[in-house]
């Protein structure tokens, strides 16, 4: 549209600044979404992406594996519930480990049933077949890594071999290893040789065919009042910290979203008022209201799209596998589409006031111009 783009070309600085503001806002929103998702995945990826649909903690565990202890009686009550296809003891704790020459923390999760509690999909390597083998989170381990659990006191350290890796399976923002229960217990004894029996942290359950996981969880809770059974999705969503992270970010997004219509609205209102006289002249010369309104909308869309492109570009740069403070930020096309559409809508809504002004121009005013 001639009018629309001509004006943009005459005042490139102004329009670029607006596009920049929109771009920065979009980038911030997408960036923070990536952080939010990355954070949540680093906290509970292991839970969300493992193979057991139902997780049973002890109530006192407060939805953390490490804090939860399942006594023998509670375990018996759990296993007696109808509709269970398989149930497995699962233990988890944080250990100090060494790979090559680097020492770090790692979460080790041991399960007595390879089909329950391990990552549902691998991104490399194979599943463990023998004791001493494990699947590792792929951001921290590579296939073939030899992980030594640092021993305490006079015990011998033990070594675990990473034979497979998986994506998005961290627990509590730590490198995570999935192995069998025997290897796990060996690790515990390596750190504390005098540890008495190793308690069971949780029971992972697979419902029988046709049984709904959340129904099964309810049944288990009824049968064992000290148990806290939840589906794996609920376990992930209600893990300590996750809800808080979500809540905080919601408020932040809402505030950023508010800024968009305000900024675009402000901009277009001002430039419309500034060129009110020229617009009136155009109308007097025979331009149709639809043409002028169309030019405005074209500008809004053009500038917003430019801003969106800039914002998405920046977001793509930052999420190109970047790690911020240990979080992997991923480029999410669905998210981009949703927010880009949202911003476009917000920008148009913001410019409605200017649109109204354009529609109200009366060509007769061209003859009685203001004098000074």
């Amino acid at each position: 549209m001639f009018l629309a783009f001509n004006e943009i070309r005459r005042g490139p600085v102004r329009f670029s600044l607006l596009a920049l503001a929109i771009g920065l806002l979009l980038f911030l929103v997408l960036f923070q979404q990536a952080i939010q998702n990355g954070l949540i995945t680093s906290f509970v990826g292991a839970l969300r992406n493992q193979s057991a649909p139902v997780i049973v903690y002890s109530l006192d565990g407060q939805r953390t594996l490490q804090g939860s202890t399942i006594s023998e009686e509670v375990e018996a009550s759990i296993r007696s519930v109808d509709g269970i296809d398989a149930a497995a003891r699962v233990d988890q704790a944080t250990f100090t480990v060494r790979v090559d020459d680097e020492t770090s923390d790692a979460s080790i999760l041991g399960t007595e049933d390879p089909s329950l509690g391990r990552p549902a999909e691998l991104s490399g390597g194979r599943a463990p077949e023998a004791e001493g083998e494990a699947i590792g989170s792929d951001t921290d381990f590579a296939v073939g890594d030899e992980v030594t659990v640092v021993a305490g006191g006079d015990a011998d350290p033990i070594t675990i071999e990473v034979v497979g890796v998986a994506r998005d399976v961290q627990l509590s923002v730590e490198p995570t290893l999935f192995t069998d229960l025997a290897t796990y217990e060996a690790a515990v004894r390596a750190v504390n040789p005098r540890a008495p029996t190793v308690p069971v942290n949780a029971i992972f359950v697979r419902p029988a065919d046709g049984v709904d996981p959340s129904e099964l969880a309810d049944r288990i809770n009824e049968a064992a009042p000290d148990a806290d059974a939840v589906t794996r999705e609920v376990a992930a969503d209600t893990a300590p910290g996750v809800a808080q992270v979500r809540q905080s970010f919601q408020i932040i997004f809402a505030l950023y979203a508010m800024v968009v219509p305000l900024v675009t609205g402000l901009f277009f209102l001002i430039i419309t008022l500034q060129k009110a006289r020229s617009l009136t002249l155009l109308r007097a010369m025979g331009a149709r209201t639809g043409t002028l309104a169309g030019a405005l909308v074209t500008q809004v869309v053009a500038v917003t799209v430019a801003g969106i492109v800039a914002g998405v570009g920046l977001y793509a740069l930052v999420t190109g596998g970047a790690q911020i403070g240990g979080l992997t930020l991923r480029f999410d096309p669905t998210l981009v589409a949703v927010w880009a559409a949202g911003f476009l809508l917000l920008a148009v809504v913001g410019s409605l006031a200017s649109l109204r002004r354009v529609l109200r121009i009366d060509p007769i005013d061209a003859t009685t111009g203001p004098g000074t």
């Binding site: 503001a21 407060q62 100090t96 923390d105 505030l255 240990g326």
Partner: protein, 371 residues
């Protein structure tokens, strides 16, 4: 300058919209800052309250209080080190607590029980008697009062709350402060795999006589590397999540300030276009570009200050609305000052976009120019 002020007073309309946008950004900055400060305070209170200079972990603990173990022999070595004035044991266990009158409650309160010897600020020099604890004031939001009991962990060990203390959170949990004996026995009952002997502790806080980092090195030397001694500030940085939260939030805050800069730049760029003829006349009758641009700066700074004031008020209102305990949120005076400074700097920098245009306005164009 008075010219710029008069314009603000006589023609407020055009400035109101920009102030509205800047206010929303100021609220954002306050919210982000308040969230960060709240998260940090809740994580680091227990350490900031310590009235000591160093903390000694075992070297296998990787700077985590939860994994650290200091036995009697190690402690003796630390005590004997030159420059060590006093040492106090410290230990923690994280459990779920039920109210004393509801042992079967399914709603657990996340607490961290801390045993101490050298009293942190706000706590009595003599730790509470066995079975008694002083709780962080955030516990009150859960409806617990002085004299109430709590049942800790699956073993439901009973403790009585005998008082409250402010700002001693540990790792985002509500802290309960008691004697080392209380801590050891509660841990033994609830975490049998993590028992501590009667003379063992998780870590030591140390009061020094002399330069803290030197003494720290000496301690680690004296124990032959079995300990890892940090200053309290270093230990705070090493607390889980602290440095990542800080850097992430600061990046976000930085970009938000950049947006404020762009908004100011945008707004004043628009206004300057409108003022071309006015500036032309003023320049013709003898106004320098410096004077005119100074007026622009003054207006930008005033808008930024106004937006900051409104934004701070709104944030304080938000703070009052958020029920305590649901979101970590803390408005500190230093955060307020920082944000105001950020807004002002952003506003001043944003004016740079108008500088060229103001400089280029040609007074000669004022003659013979139709308005």
């Amino acid at each position: 300058m008075k010219l710029a002020l008069k314009e603000l007073r006589r023609r407020p309309g055009r400035f109101i919209a920009a102030t509205a946008v800047l206010t929303v950004l100021a609220v954002l900055l306050m919210f982000l800052g308040g969230l960060l400060d709240g998260l940090l305070a809740g994580s680091t209170g227990a350490y900031r309250a310590q009235r000591a200079e160093l903390i000694v972990y075992s070297s296998t603990a990787r700077e985590s209080l939860i994994r650290s173990r200091v036995d009697a022999a190690l402690r003796d070595a630390v005590d004997a080190t030159d420059g060590v004035e006093a040492t106090g044991g410290l230990g923690t266990v994280q459990l779920g607590a039920r109210p004393g009158d509801d042992p079967e409650s399914r709603d657990l309160i996340s607490i961290a029980l801390l045993g101490y010897e050298l009293a942190p600020r706000g706590l009595p020099d003599e730790p509470p008697a066995e079975g008694e604890v002083i709780a962080d004031s955030t516990l009150e939001a859960e409806g617990i009062e002085e004299g109430d009991t709590l049942l800790l962990g699956p073993a439901r060990r009973e403790v009585t709350v005998t008082g409250f203390v402010d700002d001693t959170g540990y790792s985002g949990q509500i802290s309960l402060w008691g004697s080392l004996d209380t801590w050891r026995s509660v841990t033994a009952d609830n975490r049998p795999d993590r028992t501590f002997a009667d003379d063992a502790v998780a870590a030591l806080v140390v009061r020094v006589d002399g330069d803290a980092s030197e003494v720290a090195d000496r301690i680690d030397g004296a124990t032959d590397g079995a300990t890892n001694t940090l200053t309290i500030d270093e230990a705070i940085e090493a607390l889980p999540g602290v440095s990542q939260q800080r850097s992430t939030f600061n990046q976000i805050i930085g970009v938000t300030a950049a947006i404020a800069l762009v908004v100011v730049g945008l707004f004043f760029a628009l206004i300057t276009v409108e003022r071309t003829s006015l500036y032309g006349i003023l320049k013709a009758i003898g106004a320098s570009s410096a004077t005119l641009f100074g007026g622009v700066l003054l207006q930008a700074v005033l808008l930024a200050l106004l937006a900051s004031a409104l934004g701070s008020l709104a944030a304080l209102g938000l703070d009052a609305l958020i029920p305590p305990g649901s979101l970590p949120f803390d408005i500190t005076p230093s955060r307020l000052t920082t944000n105001v400074a950020l807004m002002v700097v952003a506003a001043v920098a944003g004016c740079a976009f108008s500088l060229r245009r103001v400089l280029r306005i040609d007074p000669a164009a004022a003659i013979g120019a139709a308005s």
